[in-house]
Symmetry: none
Amino acid sequence: MSLEPNSRRMELVRIAARLFRDHGYERSTVRDIATAAGMQSGSLFYHFRNKEEILVAVMALGISSTTEQLGEALAQAGNVEQRLAALFHVHLHSLLGENQAALEVMLYEWRSVSEAARPGLVVLRDRYEALWQQVLDEAAAAGLVKANTRLLRRTLLGSLHWSVQWYRKEGSLSVAELADEIMALALRD
Amino acid sequence: MSLEPNSRRMELVRIAARLFRDHGYERSTVRDIATAAGMQSGSLFYHFRNKEEILVAVMALGISSTTEQLGEALAQAGNVEQRLAALFHVHLHSLLGENQAALEVMLYEWRSVSEAARPGLVVLRDRYEALWQQVLDEAAAAGLVKANTRLLRRTLLGSLHWSVQWYRKEGSLSVAELADEIMALALRD
Amino acid sequence: MSLEPNSRRMELVRIAARLFRDHGYERSTVRDIATAAGMQSGSLFYHFRNKEEILVAVMALGISSTTEQLGEALAQAGNVEQRLAALFHVHLHSLLGENQAALEVMLYEWRSVSEAARPGLVVLRDRYEALWQQVLDEAAAAGLVKANTRLLRRTLLGSLHWSVQWYRKEGSLSVAELADEIMALALRD
Amino acid sequence: MSLEPNSRRMELVRIAARLFRDHGYERSTVRDIATAAGMQSGSLFYHFRNKEEILVAVMALGISSTTEQLGEALAQAGNVEQRLAALFHVHLHSLLGENQAALEVMLYEWRSVSEAARPGLVVLRDRYEALWQQVLDEAAAAGLVKANTRLLRRTLLGSLHWSVQWYRKEGSLSVAELADEIMALALRD
DNA sequence: TATGAATGAGCCTTCATTCAT
DNA sequence: GATGAATGAAGGCTCATTCAT
């Protein structure tokens, strides 16, 4: 299970991510993925045991790469405000940015993941949300946001997730501006 | 298209709503629906032209009955605060309450609706969101919430929608309490 | 089994004949017939035991009404030549004339008739072909056509039947002219 | 679209031709064809996009192989009389000979061909009929048959087509004898 | 690594037919 | 005579998956 970004497997995951996001997991066929990758459908099963394994790989990529990016952004942030802002910016760029299909699949195709595969993904998700929780707690301690940070985390993530349903990059707002505006709504005044 | 709550068609819509919510539209088969209704799969097509028509009927039920309930709640509310609260309470009860599967389907199965059927549903959804917009504008004028009400509407709805992913009614929080707490997060202080 | 031309049953047979001719027996549904007759599909089964009975009724109408017309035309014909001409004219008018769908169904849907129903139709067909045979024998005796009348009967009927595949009434030839021309090809010279 | 006679696709076409001829296209199921070929019904769709494509392939085989045979027979014919005879012999052998189901399907299942697929088949049919027209014109010029060759072509083809309805190879007449007798009826005397 | 061919279970849908009202 | 609702068998087709080459 190579994680090298250049490996054939990773390329397939990225192709699948885009298809799953655009048409849904159930409506995307193994043939679609293979065709987009320039191979026969049977060949995919050399790389993945079955279709669900592709889905899980997409989701794992989506959540873990976002976590990684958030980690880096937090490391570079100078103060609590910047750390808070990183939450919104990283999340939205991962969700709405170019070629960033994997996280969206993680959010909207959960029901297609078998019981067996969920725990592994939950671990990854919890790791990501733990970063959020930690920063929100810091921000609450600094008086930036309200104190009910557990619920705050969930509502904020819900707000951000939902943006895929209505945000259009052709509109007047850039992703960065949107991140700032949504953060502003969460700040105490 | 009888809207009488006792009609056979409406009964089928309710049964389908539950299946679509629990297993997803694509994973729910026409046979599943028929079996749950105690009939043969072919019989369904006496009531609906095809499977998608069932989905559309479920969605239309979900959004229009929620709109109706919100309308009634707003009519009975005495002041702006109560009207604001109605938004959260009605939405969450429609989403998380007993036997209330239809609205959730509306939110999470949009991609399975054909281009042809979307406009009709968009009209219903816009009607619902117009109520939200109106009450949020009133609340902003009264200083209860922040002024960016268009974005506020979208983020709040996102927050509420997401609750289906984590809220468990066996937990410590009732749906009403959750509504109050989420509202509290949105209030200026 | 009323044969009165005004009866409801006869009306249904005529409606079915047109549908069977235009779209084929297998492709025409009982619902199509019922709709064209302004009733529900279930109601048809008051008039006919099953779909095949409709087909048989259409075929019986087609062949027996043509036989009847041929009988009348032969009775009025003054000489052998006129009797010979009657064969071609009656057959083509029955096949290509307005509202004359039934005979064509008889020719092209034979395979859909069950073994059980065939003998009855064969009797009707033989009665019709017997008229042909008789007139052809007279014509051969008079030196109008060649002597191999049994084969002649079959090839001539084949020629006429095939006209439904290529004859267009919008073309330059009337049905009567076509009948004359085809007959001319069969005459000795 | 391999035309090699040994290819699996061609084998399936031949199997389908026989079924379509014996029971009709509409009454022959995809499962019937698969069973006759010793495979599962789903496997057929690896070779053909849909059922209609099988029908079109059968028809194309029927008409083009007959055209090919006629071309060869004409090339070997020494004089006009032999060329004229080739028309009848090739056509009847293709229609009534052993394992020759495809041409009959072409003649009797035309209504099941979609509008989209017709032009391609019409081209093939016209190519065949052009050979007929050419030879009939030569024969008329030589005084062998009557001058109205366009109508003659249609009536003769109709006569030959119809033979499938009544010819039984167990009878007293061989296919070759029948061809000669039908030709004799068309000759001037 | 990849392909070509096939599998087999399942899916949505159709449709002749039935029957209580 | 006719309807509305349903049946149930079957039909064309899809698709994840397998496997010899």
